[in-house]
């Protein structure tokens, strides 16, 4: 019986991933966050460091911009998933099924995260082509493991923010504003050392902070044992999932009470 449940859960996740990927292929938002934004952000970010005579920050700028692209893509397309479900009238129908809404959205968000790996590739490519930066990855295996963990973790963090989209159709505006502190606190747009000390605990709670450290160390070869950083990301992902589960239960109840599932 437990095996049957596991298979059923796997099928829901797998088919949610497939469904989302099919939908993404023809989404203009997806193309914008995956291809256009990374190019623009990389040019601005790397250019700022290079022309500020800080060429050592070139790699930092690229990994940071790549993570911004992954985060952006995950957050906005995850919000767009729920907005899309509202628009097509499927949100209340999937909520009427016995499957967990969190599980369905986890699958769909994960699909976005997988495809957003392209964004990281685009940032590296832009860095090489636009600024002729000699970018190599010293420890490809550590980089790859880190990237996979970060994508899973950012998916989980995106779900926490995504819960707001169930509650209200106007969540996009709030998330747009809440998005920027994540860039700054994670050290994706400016180095963490430039931020006041009191922001450190907040930074450490955000998975992109650790992702940036891992990717930089793996790319530059400056890191030692990566395992502790990997474990932090796994731990944070579990915390995000627990928070998301609690939030989804609550927002589902509030949305059913307010009768807003069909508003778009």
């Amino acid at each position: 019986m437990k095996m049957a449940n596991f298979r059923s859960t796997f099928r829901i996740l797998r088919n949610s991933v497939i469904l989302q990927m099919k939908s993404n292929v023809i989404s203009s938002d997806f193309i914008s966050t995956l291809f256009i934004q990374p190019v623009i952000f990389t040019i601005i970010s790397v250019g700022t460091y290079l022309y500020g005579n800080k060429p050592d920050f070139g790699l930092f700028a690229i990994t940071g911009t790549g993570l911004i692209a992954i985060w952006n893509n995950n957050l906005f397309t995850s919000g767009e998933i729920i907005r899309g479900e509202r628009r097509t009238g499927t949100l209340s129908l999937i909520m009427a099924t016995p499957s967990s809404l969190l599980l369905i959205l986890l699958g769909k968000s994960f699909a976005n995260a997988i495809t957003s790996v392209f964004a990281m590739g685009i940032t590296f490519l832009t860095g090489m082509l636009a600024f002729h930066l000699p970018i190599g990855i010293s420890n490809p295996l550590a980089f790859l493991i880190g990237l996979i963990l970060i994508i899973v973790s950012i998916t989980c963090l995106g779900l926490v923010f995504g819960s707001l989209f169930i509650l209200t159709r106007n969540a996009g505006e709030f998330v747009s504003v809440a998005n920027f502190p994540v860039y700054i606190l994670s050290g994706l747009s400016i180095p963490l050392t430039l931020l006041p000390l009191w922001t450190r605990p907040l930074s450490q709670f955000l998975t992109p902070t650790w992702g940036n450290i891992i990717l930089n160390e793996a790319a530059s070869g400056s890191g030692g044992n990566m395992l502790p950083n990997y474990l932090v990301i796994v731990g944070l992902s579990i915390i995000y999932l627990v928070i998301a589960r609690i939030l989804y239960k609550r927002v589902e109840y509030l949305a059913l009470r307010a009768g807003t599932l069909e508003q778009w």
């Binding site: 829901i12 099919k22 097509t88 009238g89 499927t90 009427a96 016995p98 499957s99 009768g259």
Partner: protein, 326 residues
């Protein structure tokens, strides 16, 4: 066995009016609804737009919470028993929304089969059966954005049946369909009921409810006005006859004059493509046609027919009487 039971069910919404001086306003969508529906019934809920039909359907289908009162499905409270209820009910909304347009019809059914945790070997057998039943086998692999409205609606029915539910909620399933597509869909609904499914059908098409349902409730402004079999409801107008006058450009004051006639029970105006059909309910055998035509003097009349009342006339009388009370 009672499948659906509600007692004093109430649902209100809050809306906000004004921009600077914002005021909260409470809208009553359901106002103390009592229902009891038995296993195997094809139950029809009739009412004008905004009567509360969709609200009650959503509450019973567990996608909306009531403000107060009792609502039970299969003897389970719709809030506490939601996990047990959801696998046993199917939900079909009218219109084109509620499907993944970028996927094929088959993929839509497959995805919902997974969400309803239908075992793969069962889904593999059931999906072609359902596609066959709703006549979409030949188009099953096409993206549904290319489907006609009728095809989407039939796919909705197949989606609602993918997990073989005991109870099916159909919320205005034939809305916007052409007459042939609507007739086909009604045949599907009738077949499902004959196969043992309990069906809760909402509609504002009287003939549809009359043709399909064992029992009917007429609803207006969040309240159930009357609940009985279609034949019993027709008795409300059994001693009446309906005079139908098709005319062009009837002024409002003449409609008011007709309504004020002491023998007239109800007047309904149906807008046709180029004309209006005035339906006047009056006591049978009263020979009032001449008097009515006298009131309509000066209006170009195309056709006058006297006929027996239908369920629609009962509905017009009941809803009309309720509206007069406000």
């Amino acid at each position: 066995m009672t499948i659906i039971f509600t007692e004093n069910l109430r649902r209100t919404y809050q809306t906000i009016t004004g921009i600077i001086r914002r005021k909260k306003k409470e809208i009553v969508a359901l106002d103390g609804v009592d229902l009891s529906i038995q296993s195997g019934e094809l139950f029809g809920l009739l009412g004008p737009n905004g009567a509360g039909k969709t609200t009650i359907t959503r509450i019973l289908a567990t996608v909306l919470l009531p403000t107060s009162g009792t609502a039970q499905v299969f003897g389970l409270d719709i809030v506490k028993g939601v996990k047990q209820i959801r696998p046993r009910i199917g939900l079909v909304f009218g219109g084109e929304r509620g499907l993944y347009w970028r996927l094929s019809g088959r993929d839509n059914l497959q995805y919902f089969a997974d969400l309803y945790k239908v075992p793969p070997e069962v889904a593999k057998r059931r999906i072609p059966e359902l596609l066959e039943m709703v006549g979409l086998t030949d188009r099953a692999n096409e993206r549904i954005e290319g489907y006609s409205r009728g095809m989407k609606q039939r796919l909705h029915i197949a989606r609602g049946l993918i997990h073989d539910p005991e109870l099916l909620f159909l919320d205005e399933p034939t809305i916007g369909l052409d007459p042939l597509a609507a007739r086909d869909l009604r045949e599907v609904i009738r077949g499902l009921n004959q196969a043992g499914k309990t069906i809760f059908l909402t509609s504002h098409y009287m003939f549809e409810i009359d043709a399909l349902c064992n029992r009917v409730a007429i609803m207006n402004k969040g309240k159930i006005l009357v609940m009985d079999t279609p034949s019993a409801l027709k008795k409300v107008v059994a001693n009446l006859e309906v005079v139908e006058i098709e005319c062009f450009g009837i002024p409002e004051e003449l409609i008011l004059k007709l309504r004020a006639h002491p023998s007239v029970q109800a007047v309904n105006i149906e807008r046709l493509e180029h004309s209006q059909l005035v339906q006047i309910q009056a006591p049978a055998g009263a020979e009032l046609v001449k008097e009515f035509l006298g009131i309509l003097e000066g209006v170009q009349v195309r056709k006058v027919v006297t006929r027996q009342p239908t369920l629609e006339d009962a509905y017009v009388k009941l809803v009309g009487e309720e509206s007069k009370k406000v």
